[in-house]
Amino acid sequence: SQQGEEDPQALSIQEGENATMNCSYKTSINNLQWYRQNSGRGLVHLILIRSNEREKHSGRLRVTLDTSKKSSSLLITASRAADTASYFCATPREYGNKLVFGAGTILRVKS
């Protein structure tokens, strides 16, 4: 029943490189959110982009949203070993009060 689907499932890069993760979703949304989860921890909210926005930045993070293609991307620039984590996109269910999460992208940044 997951609405968002991330790709790739796993990504391994060298420190300093950029990491790009993609998310596709199925229904109309009014916002899309990205979260990070370090191993054994809860999720941390990274950024929320509203449906009338096309791009949003926060530090080394850049999120884009294309509502015509029902897709979003998360770019992490100049990656660090500490960015190693799972990254999830989440969208509000069309009817109801909940966020629906994808299966996530596992990012490994090698130092």
């Binding site: 997951q2 054994g40 809860g42 909940k98 299966a103």
Partner: protein, 115 residues
Amino acid sequence: GAGVSQSPRYKVAKRGQDVALRCDPISGHVSLFWYQQALGQGPEFLTYFQNEAQLDKSGLPSDRFFAERPEGSVSTLKIQRTQQEDSAVYLCASSLAPGPNYGYTFGSGTRLTVV
């Protein structure tokens, strides 16, 4: 408190045992959510509270699962007669405003293992 607090951090239960998982949301947060996360998967929605009202329990997998938030702050997720398939991490999240249109703050979760 400064964040969402969940207890216990780890719970091992024998099959058939009842368990209770506690969530202390951020003070003043109206919305409270419970999610279940299986290994290698994204969180799956269980239930949603707005203050003390349970507005959505569509994700609860069976009638063995019960959640409450009687005073609109602390919440408890209870699982009766636990089964091995209940083994997962149970995450609680809270949000200042109603609904899913603002970022959630998650707790670190309770890892439940049913043996």
